[in-house]
Symmetry: C2
Subunit: 301 residues, 2 copies
DNA sequence: CTCAAGTATCAATTTTCTGCATACATGACA
DNA sequence: TGTCATGTATGCAGAAAATTGATACTTGAG
């Protein structure tokens, strides 16, 4: 016997007749005709080759096999309700999941506040965070449905929709021997030590291009993967790190934070798939995220 | 969302796609077309208002809600298999239930052997015994589906089918003061003490009618419900009990067992509903029961 | 004997499922 | 960058199945 031959209408009829005690009453409860119930049970019995109800003047009563089946049927009912309510929760804002793809710096310095704000209003929303290093990984996570939203450098491109949150200003981390001078660098300060930048595509390209605008021979010497390693190198006096404010935190002892001689920043925002259906939980998260921008303007400390 | 709107084909598709990783492979496993699978998942998603799979070049992968649903779906699958296998067990002879309606004397002296023989061959068959007092209760139990078979005085009547097992001979239990004489009574012996019979319809009627054939004034004085009470009364010297051999056991000390001056017996057999579908377990039981008749001819001890 | 309360069955209709053909999407690769 | 391979979506028509209304059948109760 193939269990998938069964129909849920039969399971339902089984349960209802068992409770109602007779076919006619069950039909009323199910809002179908008695004929339908009779058919449902008859087919069920034929397919299983077993008598499930004894019928008579007094209605229908379960056989021992029927009894066992009803127990399983009840559980099936519960599970179906589970499935349905999982869907309802997901659709509703009091439940649901938001999967965020992001960079480490954002995950550390921006998301916690956003999530806190979100949970003040909707404590039941689940958050999952996917930390990646490169821009293409963000795009991939969105397109392949591993994430609902990216919070990072805004992704450009067909099919994406972005919401700007804040600008993450690039600053310079100066080695201890530079001393505590003006927090505003001049161009010539950049020649005093080797330059260090992130090895990540978007950062390193943006910095390289901007430097070339002033001096096409001004090059970055070290490209380092991890933000904290860059800061560590600066602390050891190996050079000047050019990185964004958020990525720089926490700044190691002795290291100075200075404004660059030219404006440069990375736009940070939320990116979603355009034309995709987003859950209310995602919108709630976006609201919470936008609330932050207003209170955390870029600033040099 | 009404959980009963779901179809098992959708649940099945959900599970198979989740395992296969893509619609096409799932379609192969389900032996349907890719179109069918696509339809199934699409309608499921529409009905639930939730995205269950992310699709792309790389096939289909579960969303978080989908993941939760699959867990429930797996359990549903198990339960469906339970239901199907309950039916198979019931139909097969290595499982199943036989519900027997019977009288106390049969339950005590005939059934144990029959059940032992049955279980030698099919140990897994479940037996349930319903003990009743009157014939009409047997009929009712059969007709209303509370029992699969009666083992008792054979039931006559439209719609019943009977199998003769043995004849339960009526004997006389003689009071102690009667002494140990010939085990064969003469008619006049019946006048020496008051007569005692069962109060149950079939017994008392059969005995009364038979006595009247010889002497229309010969009457039973006491009608007692319980066999053991009748034997007890005989032991107290209150009269002669006319009852069947099986009902008489165990015979109390001092009480004599004698053959009646005329032949009288109760046909004992199995009765089933004619035109009803009986499970293999029932037939196996009938076989075991008939095996007994050959070895247990009516005899006076 | 007849009624009342229940179940079963038939044929027609409506609904749903399925498959085919084909369009659409997208990653891989030349 | 264009084409291919691989995967999914969809419109439509035929097939299958559920549902129904009418009616027949069954059986206790009075």
């Amino acid at each position: 016997m193939n269990p998938w031959k069964l129909k849920l209408s039969q399971i339902r009829a089984l349960l209802t007749v068992a409770e109602a005690g007779n076919f006619s009453e069950a039909a009323l409860r199910l809002e179908v005709t008695q004929s339908t119930v009779s058919h449902a049970i008859a087919t069920l019995e034929n397919e299983l080759g077993v008598v499930v109800f004894h019928r008579g003047r007094h209605g229908a009563q379960l056989t021992p096999v029927g009894e066992r089946m009803v127990q399983d049927a009840r559980q099936i009912q519960t599970l179906l309700e589970n499935i349905a309510s999982a869907a309802v929760h997901e659709r509703g804002v009091d439940g649901g999941t938001v999967r965020i793809a992001t960079f480490r710096s954002i995950a550390t310095h921006v998301l916690p506040e956003a999530i806190a704000r979100l949970h003040q209003v909707y404590p039941a929303i689940q958050i999952s965070i996917l930390e990646v290093d490169e821009l293409y990984q963000l795009k991939q996570a969105l397109s392949q449905g591993q994430a609902d939203v990216c919070v990072a450098e805004m992704l450009l491109g067909e099919g994406f929709e972005t919401i700007h949150i804040l600008d993450d200003e690039y600053i310079a981390l100066m080695p201890p021997q530079y001393g505590l001078r003006d927090a505003q660098l001049a161009m010539e300060d950049l020649y005093k030590y080797p330059l260090i930048s992130s090895s990540h595509d978007s950062c390193s390209v943006r910095i390289r291009d901007r430097l070339r605008e002033f001096d096409k021979d001004l090059e970055v010497t070290y490209r380092i993967r991890h933000d904290s390693s860059m800061a560590g190198m600066v602390q050891q006096g190996l050079g000047i790190a050019l990185m964004t404010e958020l990525a720089a935190k926490p700044v190691p002892d002795g290291v100075g934070v200075c404004r660059l001689p030219f404006p440069l920043s990375r736009p940070v925002g939320a990116t979603l798939l355009k034309d995709a259906l987003h859950s209310p939980a995602v919108y709630a998260f976006l609201d919470a995220l936008q609330g932050i921008g207003a209170f955390a303007p870029a600033q040099v400390g």
